[in-house]
Point group: D2
Chain length 311, copies 4
Amino acid sequence: MGSKSDLLPRPLRGIIPPMVTPLLERDSLDVVGLERLIEYILAGGVHGLFILGTTGEAPSLSYRLRFELIERVCAQVNRRVPVLVGITDTSFVESVNIARKASDAGAQAVVLAPPYYFPAGQAELLEYLKHLTAELPLPLFLYNMPRYTKAIFEPETVRAALDINGIVGLKDSSGDMMYFHRLQSLLKDHPDFTLLMGPEELLAEAIFLGAHGGVCGGANLLPQLYVDLYNAARCLDLSAAGALHSRVMQISTTIYSVGRYESSFLKGLKCALSCLGICSDFLAEPFHRFRAAERDTIRRHLEELGITPAR
Amino acid sequence: MGSKSDLLPRPLRGIIPPMVTPLLERDSLDVVGLERLIEYILAGGVHGLFILGTTGEAPSLSYRLRFELIERVCAQVNRRVPVLVGITDTSFVESVNIARKASDAGAQAVVLAPPYYFPAGQAELLEYLKHLTAELPLPLFLYNMPRYTKAIFEPETVRAALDINGIVGLKDSSGDMMYFHRLQSLLKDHPDFTLLMGPEELLAEAIFLGAHGGVCGGANLLPQLYVDLYNAARCLDLSAAGALHSRVMQISTTIYSVGRYESSFLKGLKCALSCLGICSDFLAEPFHRFRAAERDTIRRHLEELGITPAR
Amino acid sequence: MGSKSDLLPRPLRGIIPPMVTPLLERDSLDVVGLERLIEYILAGGVHGLFILGTTGEAPSLSYRLRFELIERVCAQVNRRVPVLVGITDTSFVESVNIARKASDAGAQAVVLAPPYYFPAGQAELLEYLKHLTAELPLPLFLYNMPRYTKAIFEPETVRAALDINGIVGLKDSSGDMMYFHRLQSLLKDHPDFTLLMGPEELLAEAIFLGAHGGVCGGANLLPQLYVDLYNAARCLDLSAAGALHSRVMQISTTIYSVGRYESSFLKGLKCALSCLGICSDFLAEPFHRFRAAERDTIRRHLEELGITPAR
Amino acid sequence: MGSKSDLLPRPLRGIIPPMVTPLLERDSLDVVGLERLIEYILAGGVHGLFILGTTGEAPSLSYRLRFELIERVCAQVNRRVPVLVGITDTSFVESVNIARKASDAGAQAVVLAPPYYFPAGQAELLEYLKHLTAELPLPLFLYNMPRYTKAIFEPETVRAALDINGIVGLKDSSGDMMYFHRLQSLLKDHPDFTLLMGPEELLAEAIFLGAHGGVCGGANLLPQLYVDLYNAARCLDLSAAGALHSRVMQISTTIYSVGRYESSFLKGLKCALSCLGICSDFLAEPFHRFRAAERDTIRRHLEELGITPAR
């Protein structure tokens, strides 16, 4: 029988959706919605599943609920695709705790952004990674999310991290393509190290220029669209990729752009999934689900996009 | 028999040091150092003790260790001064968990900065406060720390929070005196609402112009200096206050300014306490204690300041 | 006969209002309003006049108009108080050109913020100052305005600038009192070097703790209020200072806070001067004067403040 | 005989290098170097020339020198390609002055970033554009450079600007591809409106997804490389484009990355041109040319890139 990371290709290619966390209340999973959502996403042909990321509202959830989620998702996915689990935390000890839980539950890898209360320097980050990987039972993906963590893994730090045993890839959600291209230059001679794009608006060009895949939030809603875009871009079919990219941009400028707060992406995504009957739109504090007016706007945008509830 | 908040004056006046958390290792308290530190601080005549704030490295600590700290501190202080406990967290549920622990252990109040991963809008923050206070067993102080939390309680939000039952004060660590003066204008007719200054470099002027006290990190090291400055400023003795303020500035530009990272304040403070034989200088990840060269510099600064180990 | 800088005390103490530039149109001075404004301000007992600063909209004005303004102001003031002229520019050569014009017209000093398009490093700024002062015919005040220039004169740079011949003071508009206190520590042994506070909300505490004066925008509107506050604070009359500071805060939270843009300070100030019949409220692009609704609000705030047009 | 803008295609396609300004001293053009540089660039097959942009150090130059440059460049280019002239200024009046000079000298268009001292709101920016274009004798390109101007033309503002007569295109130097893609979505039905990419590291993907060309600083040094990349990307030859893009990245991570300041791009570019014997490496304040050690590094990088002085 294989080990837990047998399932994890090196590099990991394709679309690995950052799953939203369906909630009934602040500390209660929408269990039925969760099962439906997992099956809906997997049916789209995705190449992995990433839970407890930013889109999954991980920092807003209790540890109890995070542990329940890990168990339920791993059981439901049942090794059909690799499951990646976010362990980002301000506390080293709690990151390790989550990673152990993930390993016990059968996940294939863990994902870590820098600790996000105190802004660490690059030397401190590198030392942090060395200490942490020594305690981790699963391979680690680095995760750049400077908007929320105030820190980025600078190219020189990524270069040094290549020598740390257990670090197998990086997901970049900085939205900074110049940084991304610098990473690509850096990783030219490390074909096994996975480089994944966060913002779906940048997926096409990332794949054209060599990235391995994308962690696209929109793949909660339209998994196949992102798989198709990944495939078109990987085959260098610029014409198909351009058309699919336009559709991605349409989602971005409609579904994700309702309301005036930074959280509109998350609220729009959960609201759309709720309109489609997939799962609840409850959000953990400090956020709140869209009210009726915004929900109507989302419903209208879904219609314009030709997305309708499955019958 | 009095309730837990009997001990909490309204407003709370004076110096309430944000205690450092003495650690032997990443998940292990320096129990002996903790007892020594508490007695050392209380001997300086402070008016309260604030644990699990930024200076206390709360976000870097496991919940297990935070709970142990709450119990030990409340037991040791034993109602000699009010104990305030930081419950800032990205997860609403975990904030409530810590607050309950604090209440059970005998603390007098809790302190909350905005959830710090997702940046919340002001309307979201206000709703957050309404939901949270309904669940809290202790009075709440708001805590502005925009550098680390990406959000500030805007004056209009503070005005609205005055109507929320259970919110009794605010600690401002923004370092923005213009904001602080706006709050003072706003609170003119709310004499029971406590307004505390965070950065000790701004303590004198805050007290001159009406603040109730300060949450001075340096009061871990020299509690009496800050108590003296508070008293001089409160009595409008500008000459004495000026001299004491100069000493505070000397600490700020020496002990807190060694090394090149933002964390130099925390590292310098813990290093100085260790040089004085009070407690360990171990820091939780992502930080690390000063090495020999920086420790020598701290030791030299302590000598220049005339601070020497008690015999 | 005395030289142009005979009029300039070392240090320069008191209130030096940053004069607004009365305009009839984008490239046309309100000459009558200008004369009235100068006499109105001087009648308040101020200790100097600073033209072509941020409040004077200098960067928005043509060089032709700036030159006309320098000549008219110097002629009108006629050595009653020192005139300081802003020479901040992205072009070294143009800064020197304005300084020469100021010297020829009879001004006493020039004021320079860092060049504000390209953000210079501290070593570059220091070299800039060395090159520039060699070309300047008048003493120079440094001007911190990081919000608009993206650069601040760091304490170490100010320390090095003390050795540059011709640099006589610094005006800090950063609003950062911790920085200001660091400068004060640094300048302890340089009693001739003038340290001035920009934001009027911070004037009282700056004077308490040793600053020489303030460059208060509100002194266009109520020159005597700021002179009184300066005097109360200098005499350590905390009670009088507190009351005058409250009035300053009332202006700040009313007159300067109408409208939603950063420019509300400038618009409110010019609008109020216009309501009082002192000068035109025209603003140079990219700004525009308040419309009727906002003007009514300003008028109401003036009434609440008990400020009415002179008869 | 045709008007000045006959030469300006709609849209303008291809590589339009932002020319560096060869200087002998702070206020003195390197006239011989300038002629050599123009011919060197034009020989590379570029499609236009943009002077007095950020790379041209425009804000650091005196108006006298800017006017001299405009005249010399227009005379030398002599209508072989369109000349675009930067008129970005904090003063509306001075922007118009430069535009008139450009028109008189025979330039084809002008380029404007937002006024960069006072940060304008979007409504203010739009009104600014309406007022300004009414005074301009040449077609206008908008120029996004938020890092230096603190303002960006938001998508809604660009949409509104489409209705202003005389605005013909936009150059985006934000480096934010998500913003760029939003603009592309917006401009789908305006095929005559030119959309140009600033950062050369993003040229390939911008062209793949529909942009008309690039304003590549590196085209001062290797004009043909960028023309080749433009052509490969336009023909959707991803394989050739990928190889050329790698070479662009190599330049970016070597020549532009020497030294520790933000200005390393500009210093590296001028130093490389000087090493190749094309023009002087003098920089206007606040910057300074590289010293010997950094110059040796640049020379080494040029050798690694296989770029050697023409014989």
